[in-house]
Symmetry: C2
Subunit: 309 residues, 2 copies
């Protein structure tokens, strides 16, 4: 491996490396792209900043960092469909939250993540409790085979950010092991991580329901693995899985601050492109303000992404 | 990769592959060796039993499967030294279990794992509670740099089984990702897994204390991550970490039954060599009896290992 040059990370639709001299063709020239390339070169080249491959761990948040999280989380769409079905089957559910809000289309209630967290978590865990990990995976695959993004009007498998996919490939080509580190469900992302991002299922870190093994099968139970993979839980999950802190980490929200803080190189995606994606700083106010102090590289979707999807 | 032949897994002391036609030179010819080679060949060769590399996951218990667990667990020696030090520093501890048993050398009490489990777990978690994962790793490294096995009279880094190291290398050479899956402490094994077995730290699965992230550091707290990585907890930990059940698994005790049960190919190490290692079936009675019914390959240390260490 020639360690003095950065090789291309671009892939065509079939996953083959595209012949190009630019490792990140969907990134516009600018400070962000240049900071990334400089950092990757520095840890791969023999010299003062060299890092062996075994310690080249990169972790990326998923919602809003690798794929679109608006107007609602992809997993919320998945879970709400199931909750509606449960309310259909069991009328008593219709008077209980969060089932009530789902069937009444009460977006205000459902958007109240902070006020209604216990009910929402209950909904998420009960939606698929008691089934095997295999049956859950099947339900996830069926969802991705048919569901479409409500405003972009494409399957959810097409709402990943192309520049981030290039970045992942480039890192992998340079000896990094790249992990997803999602506050969302680990087992919800695993079935599509390879297709969407070229990331193997064992490299998906995320929140999870508790599991139980009996009679040769793994069953999802009603608990939630603690801590949740968000905020200060992210470094805990990353250590648990890798025994390391990340060399490079990417996020987009306040829940990613702890992960970025413990990484050597931090990337913060800023959603500022209402035309091609969505524009919002809500939920990222602290992260954006800390980025300046801590020297994280802020990536503007509007200015730094030549293509978004 | 030539998929029709089995390549050598033997390594010299420096970790370089030894030139030999026999992939497992420390294994005697016999049913066990032959069953392993046949299975590995069948999943690597294109054909009905072919398994893609992404699904070639192998998991091995550690104590008694990869290294010697008698006369006491390596980790017990590590923890007891620390408990003795704690009792030295704080005399009140000397009247409390398990500190009392440690300083009085009360082997009978300490061996009563089942009766004294709560006290022993308390001892294990309190021994190194409140320190960072980094400081804990340093303590583990210092232990391995000086401590010796009480009867074999060699450093603990030399009590791994040579035939198992060859098997791990051979599996890795054939596209397997090999994990340790230990009921003992994950972070106790990580610092030496590469040196002892050629297994990277991110491939160590095991029981763990709870962790907390604050002020840019990870601290060990007093809880124990649930479930413990033993018995039915093993498939849960393996799924959590890999999103799969093992293609091949190796164990030596009743606590490994669930892991072997969910694997396609199960290996059960039998300790029957009082001259070169230890002879005991205690704690493996059910596993040995299930091996027959379930077709697990039983490996006799006495008959199947040409060399042990």
């Amino acid at each position: 491996m020639a360690e003095s040059s950065i090789r291309g990370g671009a892939r065509d639709a079939a996953g083959n490396r595209m012949s190009t001299d630019d490792p990140l063709p969907s990134w516009r020239e600018g400070q962000a792209k240049s900071a990334i390339l400089t950092f990757v070169r520095s840890v791969c080249e023999r010299g003062g900043s060299f890092v062996p491959e075994s310690a080249r761990v990169a972790t990326f948040d998923n919602d809003g960092t690798l794929w679109c999280e608006k107007p609602l989380y992809v997993q919320a769409d998945f879970v709400f469909r199931r909750l509606a079905q449960m309310a259909e089957e069991d009328p008593a559910r219709r008077e209980e939250q969060p089932w009530k809000a789902v069937i009444e289309g009460d977006r205000a209630w459902l958007a109240g993540l902070t006020q209604h967290l216990p009910e929402l978590i209950r909904g998420v865990t009960e939606a698929y409790a008691g089934i095997t990990t295999e049956a859950f995976e099947q339900a996830v695959r069926e969802f991705f085979a048919s569901a479409k993004h409500p405003t972009l009007d494409v399957p959810y498998t097409q709402v990943g950010y192309r520049p981030m996919r290039e970045l992942i490939s480039m890192l992998q080509d340079h000896g990094f092991t790249v992990y997803i580190c999602s506050a969302g469900g680990r087992d919800f992302v695993r079935p599509v991580a390879e297709q969407l991002y070229g990331i193997a299922r064992q490299c998906v870190i995320g929140s999870a329901t508790t599991l139980e093994y009996r009679d040769g099968q793994l069953y999802r139970t009603k608990g939630v693995e603690q801590p949740i993979d968000d905020g200060p839980g992210k470094p805990v999950h990353i250590w648990t899985r890798t025994g390391q802190t990340p060399l490079l980490a990417g996020g987009n929200a306040d829940g990613d601050i702890a992960m970025l803080e413990c990484a050597r190189f931090g990337l913060l995606i800023r959603h500022d492109d209402a035309d091609r994606e969505f524009a919002y700083d809500t939920g990222a106010e602290r992260a954006l303000s800390e980025a300046r102090e801590r020297g994280w590289t802020v990536v503007s979707i509007k200015n730094d992404f030549a293509a978004v999807f």
